[in-house]
């Protein structure tokens, strides 16, 4: 066996000083020589545990081997058969806590850059001409998908490949869910998203925008009046949490959802060319330290903030953002205030934000999440002068559909309850996956859930078709 290189092949990045002021993608992607060089680092283990770390169980060593062998069509075929959204997942997955964490090379060295290789293959595929449209659906059972976020897109793609006519119902005027309104252009270019969604439409998936299931059409009407045989709920976790501290309704306070949606979906940064306004802050504090918080603070700098500050009550070690997002944020000049707990948002006489009042914290005993509990230090209050505050402390599942549909069981957090292997909710032929089930999580977990639900839906519909045929005879 050849001696393995300890370090992974670096990802070319745009200069931090330049990129911090525009929305062009930060990571530039491998070229073929870099990709092949990195692919050679894979040990081709007898027990490829990396696959166990992948929510959509991509045969990782197989596609990497094809890259090393120079067989790009082969690599693309293997990848796409397992993951319908590789160009997206290759960019936004937290590989360091999934496949790459389990990589055997990682016991001594830096793991294989599986995510970078996934992205390389998907981007290669994007440059190839689109094949002819597949055969028309062969299976008569129609399936409705609620929401065009990652869970819904993957579920739709899998079902279409299995021959089902599929319709996605999207509440907004644009598709993609959180991939559109949440993740910024510099991390996930929207033409990549459009391309992946275009592939689904090429497969025959129908997408209907501006329809809210539970409001425009009830879930029951999908079955009773519109003839769908199964429904998949992928409505995500789109109800932003607030802290409940004084001043949260001051002008200039946003949820991360609102801040990012105004820019990513409505292009408020281009006001007045675009019609949607927003408050562009000079000093922006973002509360929280997850991926969304990093997206938010880096976006704030790009639209004109002179200072972007992450305020987090725990320490850097407890931060939930991907390592790469944190590293990019540091390079771009984001300021981090760790162990800092916001207790009040203060404003002027006209109700505009002027500052964020905080307390210093220290770490105590581990709490129920296993992370060290932050404890306030008496008398440590201070005010950070800012003119915009964004709360990025998570989302609860959107209750809109559950409120208007009888018999959908949820847990105490409002998440839909589904069978572990069946993905079926408390209603027959109604399935669910993604953040609507797990609470706010990652794109790839949603994709994995969409994939498993598609398999379960196909199995159940095929079984019922079989029993209908045998009864008929």
């Amino acid at each position: 066996m050849p001696l393995k290189r300890a370090d992974k092949t670096p990802m070319p990045e745009r200069d931090a000083g330049l990129r911090a002021h525009d929305f062009i993608e930060v990571n530039e992607g491998y070229d073929f020589s870099r990709a092949a060089f990195e692919a050679e680092r894979c040990l081709r283990c007898q027990d490829p545990v990396c696959i166990e770390g992948c929510p959509v169980t991509i045969p990782i060593p197989d596609f990497i081997h094809e890259i090393a062998a120079g067989n790009m069509p082969g690599a693309a075929k293997i990848l796409r058969s397992a993951n319908p959204l590789p160009a997206i997942c290759g960019r936004v997955c937290p590989q360091e806590t999934q496949c790459e964490q389990l990589c055997h090379l990682g016991t001594q060295f830096i793991p294989v850059a599986i995510g970078y290789l996934e992205r390389f293959v998907a981007d290669w595929e994007r440059d190839q001409p689109l094949g002819s449209a597949p055969a028309q659906p062969s299976n008569a059972d129609k399936v409705a998908i609620i929401g065009s976020g990652p869970a819904g897109l993957v579920c739709a793609g899998e079902l279409a490949r299995l021959g089902h006519p599929v319709t996605i119902f999207e509440a907004l005027h644009a598709t993609g869910g959180v991939l559109r309104y949440g993740i910024p252009e510099f991390r996930l270019p929207k033409d990549i998203l459009d391309w992946e969604i275009g592939l689904l439409e090429h497969l025959g998936v129908e997408i209907v925008r501006n329809v809210i299931i539970g409001k425009t059409i009830t879930l029951d009407a999908l079955f009773d009046e519109m003839g769908y045989s199964a429904v998949f709920i992928g409505t995500g976790a789109g109800l932003p949490k607030f802290l409940g501290i004084p001043g949260e309704n001051l002008n200039g306070v946003y949820s991360a959802n609102e801040f990012l949606t105004r820019i990513n979906l409505m292009h408020a940064d281009q006001f007045p060319e675009m019609d949607t306004p927003m408050k562009i802050g000079k000093r922006v504090a973002v509360i929280g330290a997850g991926n969304t918080a990093m997206d938010t603070v880096r976006t704030a700098l790009r639209v004109g903030a002179e200072e972007g500050i992450i305020v987090y009550r725990r320490s850097e070690n407890e931060m939930t953002a991907r390592v790469e997002e944190h590293h990019h944020a540091v390079d771009e000049g984001v300021e981090f205030k760790w162990l800092t707990n916001p207790i009040e948002i203060v404003g002027d006489d006209e109700g505009w934000v002027t500052g964020l009042k905080c307390m210093k914290m220290e770490l105590g005993e581990p709490d129920e999440s296993g992370r060290a509990r932050p404890v306030p230090i008496d008398g440590s209050e201070f005010v950070i002068p800012v003119d915009v505050v964004v709360l990025s402390i998570g989302n609860n599942p959107n209750p809109l559909l559950v409120k208007t549909t009888a018999g959908l069981k949820t847990n105490e957090k409002g998440c839909l309850v589904v069978g572990e292997n069946t993905a079926e909710t408390s209603r027959q032929r109604v399935y669910a996956g993604g953040d609507a089930v797990t609470g706010a999580a990652t794109v790839i977990l949603a994709a994995g859930a969409g994939k498993r639900a598609a398999a379960a839906i196909h199995e159940d519909l095929s079984a019922s078709l079989q029993s209908t045929i045998s009864v008929g005879h």
Binding site: N210, K215, T216, N249, N251, P272, P277, N398
Partner: protein
């Protein structure tokens, strides 16, 4: 896309559109709203559903041209399409008591009383509508509103029609026993100062009063939280918890302030678009 079937000029700046939206029309109940986007790059704005006809598959919306988006919308004609229209959003309005129900409409908010008061009349309530405007020519839909209630009361600032004074003055007279008499329950829809004045008028008499708030929104499904309002010291999302709330519990100071968040930008944007108004562009 939603096709405009009919357009009517109610005042020079207030326009009524009957729009083809069969799924929305079939699902709507009084008190709900739609969100529209009029052009690529356009903003999403909420509009109350004034009326709906499930058989014809149409809804009626009334728009007052106050900003860029409402001006673009106002420039559309019958036969044109509204780029995006989604709904019905929000919770249907529930009247807490039966009896003498008074609907109060200010400005173009009067339109929203159409389907609501028809429904309340049909349920066997005694119904009164009070609408007000600066002058007679700005009172809208008087014939249509007269048909859906037992008494229609008009108020104008200059006395050119009905009572000379504000809707709250006529309301106070009713509370004092005049005309159709004291209301058992009140619904007010219109500009924020008018809804607030109604709330203050009925607070002492403890008459149940509902108002339909009109905060800034993006998605209308609870996703952005931009429409949050404080009601009875609790933060609510008007898009999914409202838009109708107990008038006596609404924090109007905050609601008014939040509605004016982008006034400066909007003015700048209007000045910018004034020289290339939609009307000018289409000629």
């Amino acid at each position: 896309m939603a096709k405009i079937i009919e357009k009517r000029l109610l005042t020079p700046v207030t326009k009524l559109f009957r729009v083809e939206a069969p799924l929305v029309a079939a699902a709507t109940k009084p008190g709900q709203f739609v969100i529209v986007r009029v052009r690529e790059g356009g903003e999403r704005i909420p509009l109350t559903i004034a009326d709906y006809d499930p058989d014809e598959g149409t809804i009626t919306i009334v728009v007052q041209e106050v900003g860029v988006t409402t001006r673009y919308l106002g420039a559309l004609d019958a036969g044109d399409d509204i780029l995006d229209l989604v709904g019905p959003l929000g919770m249907p309005l529930e009247i807490p008591v039966e009896g003498h129900i008074v609907g109060i409409g200010g400005g173009f908010g009067a339109a929203a009383l159409l389907c609501l008061m028809r429904e309340l009349s049909a349920r066997g309530n005694r119904t009164t509508i009070i609408i007000g405007a600066r002058e007679k020519g700005l009172l809208i839909l008087t014939e249509e509103l007269a048909e859906v209630c037992d008494n229609l009361e008009l108020c104008t600032d200059d006395g050119s029609a009905g009572l000379k004074g504000f809707v709250t003055e006529r309301l106070q007279q009713l509370i004092d026993g005049d005309g159709p008499g004291c209301p058992d329950s009140i619904v007010a829809i219109g500009p924020m100062p008018m809804m607030r004045a109604v709330a203050e008028t009925t607070r002492a008499a403890a008459i149940p009063t509902l108002v339909s708030l009109d905060p800034l929104m993006i998605d209308g499904t609870g996703m952005c939280g931009g429409c949050r309002v404080t009601v009875d010291d609790e933060v609510k999302f008007a898009c999914v918890d409202g838009p109708v709330f107990d008038a006596h519990q609404v924090d109007f100071d905050e609601a008014v302030r939040r509605n004016k968040m982008y006034v400066e930008q909007e003015q700048a944007s209007q000045e910018r678009t004034a020289c290339r108004s939609p009307a000018a562009e289409s000629t």
